[in-house]
Amino acid sequence: MAVEGIDLGKYKLGWNDADQYVYKPKKGVNEEVVRDISHQKSEPEWMTKFRLKALARFERKPMLDWFAQNMPDIDFDDIYYYIKPTEGGEVSDWDMLPEKMKETYEKLGIPEAERKYLSGVTSQYECLRGSTLVWTTEGMRPIKEIEPGDEVFSLDEASREIVRAPVRGKAASGDKEVFEIRARGRVIGASANHPFLVLRDERKPGRQRARFKARWVPVEGLREGDYVALATDVPEYGESAPLLLEWPDDPGFPIETSVDFCWFAGVYLGDGYIKHSESYATLEIAIDVSDEELVDEIRRVGRELFGLDFRLAKDRQRLTAIGSSALAEFFELNGLGGTAHTKRIPDWVSSLPVAQRLAFVAGYIDADGYVRDYPTNRDVSLTSANSSLLEDAKQLLALCGISSSSVIEFTSRHSLDRNRMMTGYRLQLSGRFDRIPCRSPRRTNRMGRRAFVHTNRSAKGTTFRSHTSDMLGFVRIDEIESVGVEPTYDIEVEGHHNFVAEGFVVHNSEVVYHKNRADLEKQGVLFSSMDHAVRDYPELVREHFATVIPPGDNKFAALNSATWSGGSFVYVPPDTHVEMPLQAYFRINSENAGQFERTLIIADEGASVHYVEGCSAPVYSSDSLHSAVVELIAKPGARIRYTTIQNWSPNVYNLVTKRARAETEATVEWIDGNIGSKLTMKYPAVVMTGPKAHGEVLSVAYAGEGMHQDAGAKMTHVAPETTSIIDSKSISKDGGRTTYRGLVKVEEGAHNVKSHVRCDALVLDEDSRSDTYPYMEVGEKDARIGHEATVSKVGEDQIFYLMSRGLTEQQATAMIVNGFIEPITKTLPMEYAVELSRLIELNMEGAVG
């Protein structure tokens, strides 16, 4: 995974890239500087006034003892408060990213595909397990064996037809948690973020008729009962295959495949075998000789293709031909050999034209198939003692547009010896098998009288025919289940950016992001930098800006209010759900939002959004103070999740004020990873102002040498029946210090409040320290507040246990730490979970090595 040749030595110290700025105001903060900032950004007058007022507050506010104690070397007059960046505009392409930023990713050792994702210009990894069978024009191939240049099948969303498309690239995407999706006998294993094409009923409340919309939804967003897209047929492809000959100069046998040859080969595969005697071999076919038409047809083809006269043997149970020895060799040479238990369908069959593939299937069914004759069920089934052969048949059938069940195991008594039990396998065909050109009337008569054809184009009680086609159907998802971590892969397909795997239509890498952007716009979601928002959405901004964190809140909030630049603005309209997390990486970097960014997120009534801010990216700053303000407003019934992973270099004071207002029945979750900085003081807060609002803070802090993470949470219950959860995990090592500091406050009149606080600290050595300061102010007697705190030292017992299985001490510690923070990482999108774990590991190694 890692990029070669990274110098982690530098990383340990943090890094400073040479500044490239067009304009630098003077150091220090005063009226002139603040006016200058506002002017540079061409701000409206109200914002300039706001800044100046905030400046006055900043100057009046005393420096609290606590800050003064912990930040002895902070000098407010020795800081650049605004630096106009050279790079303008918002980056939408990896190649447009500043070189400096690319270098930063290099330093972090993040592979390119992931870097693209982090920089926001492309989608995350989407992956399928290595054994996933991709439909190709060479048959079905495991995804891990697909190579660029192979031809796969892909859905043209406009015409709803399956078309052929070349593979542009393939990537092993590492070990990922895999989810199995089961739908009507089909199973596929994909990572949580892999999008599938689904149909969803999006009718307005109260409407009678279902309104289905087709959408790409990642696995984590899929629900049992969604309808997922299947390729039910493929376009014509394939060519007759050359046949191998023992004596090429004197063929005597066909030199390439034909419909008749394929049919005969299918019959042979079902009921034929080669009988070896001492000096020669004979090819025999054991069929039901009372099926006269079938016997005649085999004899005709045998004569025409191979010049052999198949006759009924004396026992009247099989057909054989004098001189079939050479034919036996010819069949073996072309992959048709083997016994009943080892026979397989040769690879070349999958790459034949459809008529020949179908003829092969027809032959096999004529020999070995069974067609039921119930009025309601005239399905075809194949039975064999060889499950691999049936798996082959299943794949071949799918490439002929015919669906089938999974291979079912059954046991029954032996027909000759009642005491013997036999294990057999059965494959049930369904769908369009009327296209199979069987030649035995016993098969075709029944198949022809079938009442129903399943093409997955409609479902009981619903109509979604308009979304389907002859090649595209939808089936209901029966089950989605996590099956553990497996190596995963992805391929990139030219043209339509999807491909067919295990029958499902799945998305490939790239473009999801661009699509997201377009989707966002369509949904009416506003997502821009705060600077732009002040100009572009003046009313929205003015109405909400600084209503959760007023400039006088604390000295650092005042400083931010006076000098802010950069940060994000998000507005989600009522009842709008943003499915993919909004990423903050790319814009913050290109705007070069310095140390005083300001973010405002508004989720209107019933809306939901997940915003992710990653700071593992560059530390452009040589300055030592980072002081951001983040305000979240969740209107009634809305839901906001805000995720941060900060990895500031160890010279940075990180003092961030984060607060959310959760109105009636709204939910706000802060997920906070603090891995870097010299000192972080951050207490994300939720003020629950409406009944039944819910607040949650999940945080992970890591403090290594010379670091102090003073983090926690603040829950203010203003309204009745509000609930909150605080879950804090901290790790200290090499003299690092972590502090949990939290407040749960229940105001008078806030009845039936519930709150639960849990802090767990892991102290990795004797020099490190962890403290817990939980505060409660409870104004109502019926409040129920729980608090648990644990401090554990990484037991030598644990390390010894893991080492006794072959892990080094470092690996063992890393594993224990990752396990410790697992309750938090599992709530993160996959990439951030990986990122967080890796950052902690890097930090720990840095200190160890």
């Binding site: 003020v687 500091r741 893991l802 006794s804 080094t808 690996q811 594993m815 990752n818 410790f820």
Partner: protein
């Protein structure tokens, strides 16, 4: 064919000698039972063999096929083919058994291909509920589940020699049988060499031992065939000690002291009141 050889092994904790010259020789496919009363040094021996650094090895040697293991860190001993099934397997919250074993296999230089499938097969064989594979290692496992899980790890990691430290403690009859059968199969199919440390002869009714050794006072005081365990069953440790003329059954070690924790000092909240909004 490999040989695990322990020669004149002496080990101490804080200057108190616990092992006072232990000799053992175990070949591939053999099951040796090491029995002894409480405090005789059984678990110490297990830990010293695996390289736990709480003990000072003062003399002796431990080799696999002539290669000295003393001085190697624990994980390298594991890499050389040694496995310890622990009496009290440790909980590792948030780490799934699957991930743990995958890391362990990679740590031993292997490739965890088909691990999920093998785990599922072993889980079925040992009657381990599959949900334990995806839970935190040993977290909230019952005693029986822990020992089944230890055996499952043993089966998947395929070491050359396994030390089973009181594998029978906390097991009911069914679990004991499952565990013993699986281990026995490994000794015959994979030629696993086993040192089964136990207090009771009960284990040996399920797991057939080729040799039985009695550890008392930090020394092997008697060795013999399976009949030695029967004798012990009749006489008890004290009776056996009397017969053998051994006076010291256990080794005295002073109790550990509780570590002290300092009270954290409280600070005032460094932030001010939130605004009254809406």
């Amino acid at each position: 064919m490999s040989v695990l050889k322990v020669t004149d092994l002496h080990a101490a904790v804080d200057g108190h000698e616990i092992l006072r010259g232990v000799d053992l020789e175990i070949a591939s496919g053999e099951v040796h039972a090491l029995m002894g009363p409480n405090g005789s040094g059984k678990s110490t021996l297990a830990h010293v063999l695996m390289g736990r650094d709480d003990y000072d090895v003062t003399a002796g040697s431990v080799t696999i096929d002539g290669e000295e293991l003393l001085g190697l860190p624990t994980w390298q001993r594991a890499e050389r083919g040694l496995f310890l099934a622990m009496q009290y397997p440790v909980e590792v919250p948030g780490v799934r058994l699957v991930d743990f074993l995958e890391a362990a296999i990679r740590g031993r230089g292997g490739e965890p291909n088909g691990l999920t499938v093998r785990l599922a097969a072993e889980a079925e064989r040992l009657h381990v509920d599959e949900q334990f594979l995806t839970r935190g290692v040993n977290v909230e496992f019952s005693g029986g589940e822990q020992k089944r899980a230890e055996t499952l790890q043993l089966a998947v990691l395929e070491p050359t020699f396994a030390i089973l430290d009181e594998i029978d403690s906390g097991l009911d009859v069914d679990a004991l049988r499952d565990v013993a059968r699986r281990i026995e199969a490994m000794t015959t199919e994979d030629r696993l060499g086993v040192l089964a440390i136990t207090h009771y002869a009960r284990l040996l009714s399920e797991l057939r031992a080729d040799r039985v050794h009695i550890l008392m006072g930090g020394r092997v005081v008697a060795s013999g065939g399976p009949e030695l365990a029967d004798t012990l069953e009749r006489t008890g440790y004290e009776g056996l000690a009397e017969d053998l003329g051994v006076d010291e059954l256990a080794v005295e070690v002073p109790a550990e002291q509780e570590p002290e924790f300092a009270d954290p000092t409280e600070f005032a909240l460094p932030f001010e009141e939130p605004p009254r909004t809406t």
